[in-house]
Amino acid sequence: MMNDRSTDAPIRVLIAKPGLDGHDRGAKVLARGLRDEGFEVIYTGLRQTPEMIADAAEQEDVDVVGLSILSGAHMALLPRTVELLRQRGMDDVLVAAGGIIPDADVTKLKAAGVAEIFGPGTSIGQIARYFRENARRS
């Protein structure tokens, strides 16, 4: 439906690539897939610091922050991003991660506030469903 602007606004998702990691095919495929699932996806591109991501999320007032990381630096970058989001008053934003993350780190990341971690083989439908069920709605 076009133009039904007052009813249920689309969920806004920020997709970011923290750190020094040049592989963004996955992030772009996901951004495109979420678009087709009816999300508004703000894509911020490569090589972002946690500060830049948190500042962008704050201005965009997104419902979900999706962090794609393949570099192995997830234990340094993901908890820091969550911390900065919380500092900016975004307590209820859903933070999820995707990439190559060992099982041993998953528990620690969840304890640090990353709500869910999607590994290789996850379908876009699964991620979309998870976001719909868990994102705060403003």
């Binding site: 689309p10 699932e37 996806v41 972002q48 962008a56 975004m90």
Partner: protein, 304 residues
């Protein structure tokens, strides 16, 4: 609420913009104060074809205005899918260097079904940035074709961004996008043919009047990636500010705002009317024409 906007805190402004975009009914009560709180920030539209470098140019413009000590607000619009209502909002990629600057506020907006290159709520979002004290306020449209000229009704100064490969002289004299330009930037000035394209534009645009009160728009060459030509573009935009605030232009802009508000209010009232569903169905069944349906809904609203 409005007091919070003036503190320079980002979060209250970001939250308000979400409510504005979503058509939250509680926003209505804030609007008189919101518009009254405006500081008179210069509304600058940046439009042009997809891939002409609008976002990169906006980023360079932010950099230049920051050097001049100004607080810059940006609204960047990208299209929504007419099928899924989803959108990729990618303008931020080119502007991330300013993400941490507390004196720059940048917000991406999806067009959400609106044609014309903007979202239906962009002008209210611009008023919110104005109330928060940003000046200038840059509004980057959806990549425009030849006739997405809505921005010229909203912005005080409209910059049309072209590229050296924009076409021949006939493109320069077509009605539409180029006609609404207060300033033209031939971007990607490091490519061959940029100066020639600028000369052709100047020659063609100097020969005809269009809107009678106008001088031909200045044509500048810019290279957004290196900021070459960007200080001159900022000077040209600043110089246009007083022209943009002539009583005649101010009246035109006010009239278009009232028309927008009228259309918006009328649609809201009509959609809330108990007769809405039946009227729409009657039009769908070809028992009623859309104009009579609209007229009846308006009349019903007036009787309340």
């Amino acid at each position: 609420m409005l007091g919070e906007l003036r503190t320079g805190e980002r979060r209250p402004l970001a939250r308000l913009l979400t409510r504005v975009e979503g058509g939250d009914p509680s926003v209505r009560a804030l609007l008189p104060d919101l518009f009254a709180a405006g500081h008179g920030g210069h509304l600058v539209g940046i439009t042009g074809p997809p891939g002409s470098g609008k976002s990169t140019l906006v980023s360079a413009l932010i950099g230049e205005w920051r050097k001049r000590g100004r607080r810059v607000g940006v609204l960047a619009v990208d299209p929504s899918s007419p099928y899924t209502r989803g959108a990729i909002l990618g303008d931020r990629i080119r502007m991330m260097e300013h993400a941490a600057d507390r004196d720059v506020f940048m917000r991406s907006m999806a067009s959400r079904g609106e044609l014309g290159g903007l979202a239906a709520t962009t002008w209210i979002a611009a008023a919110a940035l104005d109330a928060a004290g940003f000046d200038p306020i840059l509004i980057e449209t959806v990549g425009a074709g030849q006739s997405e000229v809505e921005i010229a009704r909203l912005a005080e100064t409209t910059v049309v961004v072209e590229v050296p490969e924009m076409g021949d002289e006939v493109q320069a004299i077509k009605a539409g996008l180029l006609e609404v330009a207060d300033i033209i930037a031939v971007n990607k000035g490091d490519r061959p043919g940029a100066d020639r394209a600028a000369r052709q534009l100047r020659a063609m645009l100097s020969t005809a009047g269009g809107r009678i009160e106008r001088k031909p728009p200045p044509v500048l060459v810019t290279t957004a990636t290196t900021a070459e030509g960007v200080p001159a573009l900022v000077d040209a935009i600043e110089a246009h500010r007083s022209t943009a605030r002539s009583p005649m232009r101010a009246r035109e802009r006010a009239a278009s705002q009232v028309r927008r508000a009228l259309a918006d209010l009328a649609a809201r009232h009509a959609e809330a009317d108990p007769g809405w569903e039946a009227s729409v169905q009657a039009v769908a069944d070809r028992e009623l024409d859309p104009f009579t349906a609209a007229e009846r809904l308006l009349d019903a609203g007036r009787l309340e």
